[in-house]
């Protein structure tokens, strides 16, 4: 980008052999060299920007420091800008007005000094900033789960189809019975036999009996289901105070579950993250711009940026001043998974010792915009899993005390141990 240091060498070379042809050749070479270095600079500028600047600056939005777009216009003396990058404190001391102004404007946060950056490097960074940080649009952001929902729809469609078929067959059977009785009546009349007047179907005792039995079975089934469903809240999906999408966080951005719910690995609770954990990232990420459009379950659109602003309200964070106001208040998340008080459940036992995935019980949480309860959390569900799941004995110090099982596995007497075998279905494991 900076041709000045190179030019004297070329002119010297040209002084020795001054043919027009060579002049053209050299200027062509110079042009190629310069354009080559331009490309090189643009690449370097991006790398340097990401390496040196991006922890505090973005091109078109304010982070710790100001947005860097148009920085060259704000500094009329470019030499001062170079000095500022290498050692901002010195420039402030000199009293250069723009330096003092920007220092005061940003709460007197000292910019990190980069004495290793040469003028050419800084030019490269400025070049990158001027190109607007041309970057490829974030592609492939929305992993489609159309297939999954399609299968679910297929299933419910099939159920509906079976229901309709049953109904049609029942109606046909009923009509055939009626036809049969009518035909018999006609044939009896033709033969001149005296028959009683046919009874309408709603006074027919056989029909009434069948209807009563069906009502009893159906009603009984529904009563049983309803009674069993008391205290169970499968598919419970409350509206939370902030539209926090697990799809965006755990799915698209691949944040590990344990980043926020770290308690799951060493305590009973998979803790609800405190606001400072949200702010670890959201101090910098103050808008939702690149991800797919989010929708609530009722189909209304979600403004992601507004939801982040809600977080700032709760955290007591002033995004303008980049400081906490101290006026935060707790976010009252609504609890979804709730076991009765007479059941003891420990996350660390399942996550750390048992090496279970979160998804085993919570479903595909990385695809849930609004979280719902995936399992019914009933005792039958717990016990079934304990009967079927094999304990991970290998490379797991937690179960080293079960020497007999280890011995048997080594001698190939058994090939696996279920949770039930190590007492996973004992009452007092969970009820005490």
């Amino acid at each position: 980008m900076d041709p000045v240091p190179f030019q004297p060498q070329f002119t010297e070379g040209m002084n020795q052999k001054r043919t027009a042809f060579q002049k053209i050749i050299s200027s062509f070479v110079l042009l190629v060299f310069l354009s080559g270095s331009l490309v090189l600079n643009a690449q370097d500028g991006k790398a340097l920007f990401n390496q040196k600047c991006a922890s505090c600056h973005a091109i078109d939005k304010q982070l710790v420091g100001p947005a860097l777009k148009g920085v060259e216009d704000r500094w009329d003396d470019k030499a001062m800008l170079y000095d500022w990058v290498r050692n901002s404190a010195a420039v402030i001391k000199k009293g250069y007005p723009r330096a003092v102004a920007v220092y005061n404007e940003y709460n007197k946060i000292q910019m990190t000094a980069f004495p290793e950056l040469k003028n050419a490097d800084i030019d490269a960074i400025l070049g990158y900033i001027n190109t607007g940080g041309a970057k490829a649009a974030a592609a492939g952001a929305a992993p489609t789960d159309a297939a999954a929902s399609a299968t679910a729809e297929d299933e419910s469609d099939a159920n509906l189809l079976y229901g309709i078929l049953t109904l049609i067959l029942a109606v046909i059977a009923l009509i055939l019975l009626q036809v049969n009785s009518n035909l018999r009546k006609m044939s009896d009349e033709a033969e001149g036999a005296q028959t009683a007047e046919p009874i309408p179907f709603y006074r027919n005792k056989a029909y009434i009996a069948i209807f009563a039995i069906l009502l009893f079975l159906g009603g009984g089934y529904m009563t049983f289901q309803g009674a069993q469903g008391l205290g169970r809240s499968k598919n419970y999906q409350p509206e939370q105070p902030i539209f926090y999408s697990h799809t965006v966080h755990a799915g698209i951005n691949q944040i590990n579950c344990l980043y926020c719910h770290g308690g799951a690995q060493d305590s009973k609770h998979a803790n609800i993250p405190s606001v400072n954990i949200c702010m670890n990232c959201h101090m910098g990420i103050n808008e939702y711009a690149k991800g797919p459009q989010l929708f609530r379950e009722d189909g209304s659109k979600v403004d992601g940026t507004a939801e982040i602003q809600k977080l700032y309200q709760f955290a007591g964070w002033d995004p303008g001043k980049k400081a906490y106001t101290g006026k935060g208040k707790p976010i009252e998340w609504i609890r979804i998974h709730n076991l009765p008080d007479h059941v003891y459940f420990n996350h660390s036992q399942h996550v750390t010792a048992g090496k279970q995935n979160c998804q085993t019980c919570h479903g595909e949480i990385q695809k849930m915009d609004e979280v719902y309860q995936f399992s019914d959390l009933s005792m039958g569900w717990c016990v079934n899993c304990h009967r079927e799941s094999k304990v991970q004995f290998k490379e797991n110090k937690f179960y080293s005390i079960y020497e007999k099982f280890h011995e048997d596995m080594k001698n190939k007497k058994i090939d696996s141990v279920t949770v039930e075998k190590i007492g996973g279905t004992e009452c007092q494991k969970c009820h005490y």
């Binding site: 990401n50 922890s55 008391l230 691949q254 344990l258 009765p340 008080d341």
Partner: protein
């Protein structure tokens, strides 16, 4: 006439029930014997009238150290514009500067959970959250855009992560 009215009412009721039933379940449902299901004691995240801030979940009492935790280092956070404390913290000796294979594996796991999202699985600053200018790039512990990880990692784990990073950078 009367019968047809009954039939009509029944069909209308069925229709209303079918339309009114949404798939989204916004209420948890009823509980059988709530006094056995709901905790009488205050639970971790329940409201609590005993404490001034109305929460059961309280931070540790000031001046106490958790059992098994490292002794705290009393270096205050820097005032804005000052870096003295930051450099003082860098001069502290690392009590966990060598890790055995198991610890290394565990520390790598912690790194990937807590740091990798921004700093990248290969420590190249290319994590899922931060990729070529997508988001913040916290450079130094608890500095600028990177918040404190004291609530996610214990002091020991933080030292171990530092050791892990240094061992990777050495390679």
């Amino acid at each position: 006439m009367k019968r047809s009215t009954i039939v009509f009412c029944g069909l209308a009721a069925l229709l209303i029930a079918a339309i009114g039933c949404s798939d989204v379940k916004r209420t948890p449902g009823k509980v059988y014997m709530p006094d056995m299901a709901n905790s009488r004691a205050y639970e971790t995240y329940s409201a609590n009238p005993v404490f001034a801030d109305g929460r059961t979940s309280q931070g540790p009492v000031a001046g106490t150290v958790k059992r098994g935790e490292e002794y705290p280092v009393h270096i205050e956070m820097d005032q804005t514009g000052d870096t003295a404390n930051y450099y003082a913290s860098r001069a502290l000796p690392n009590p966990f500067d060598s890790l055995d294979a198991d610890q290394m594996k565990e520390t790598e796991r912690l790194y990937l959970i807590n740091c990798g999202i921004c700093h990248g699985a290969k420590l190249d600053g290319n994590g899922p959250l931060w990729k070529d200018g997508d988001g913040p790039y916290p450079a130094k512990p608890g500095k600028n855009l990177m918040g404190s990880y004291a609530s996610q990692l214990t002091a020991k784990q933080r030292w171990q992560v530092i050791t892990y990073i240094k061992s990777k950078q050495g390679k």
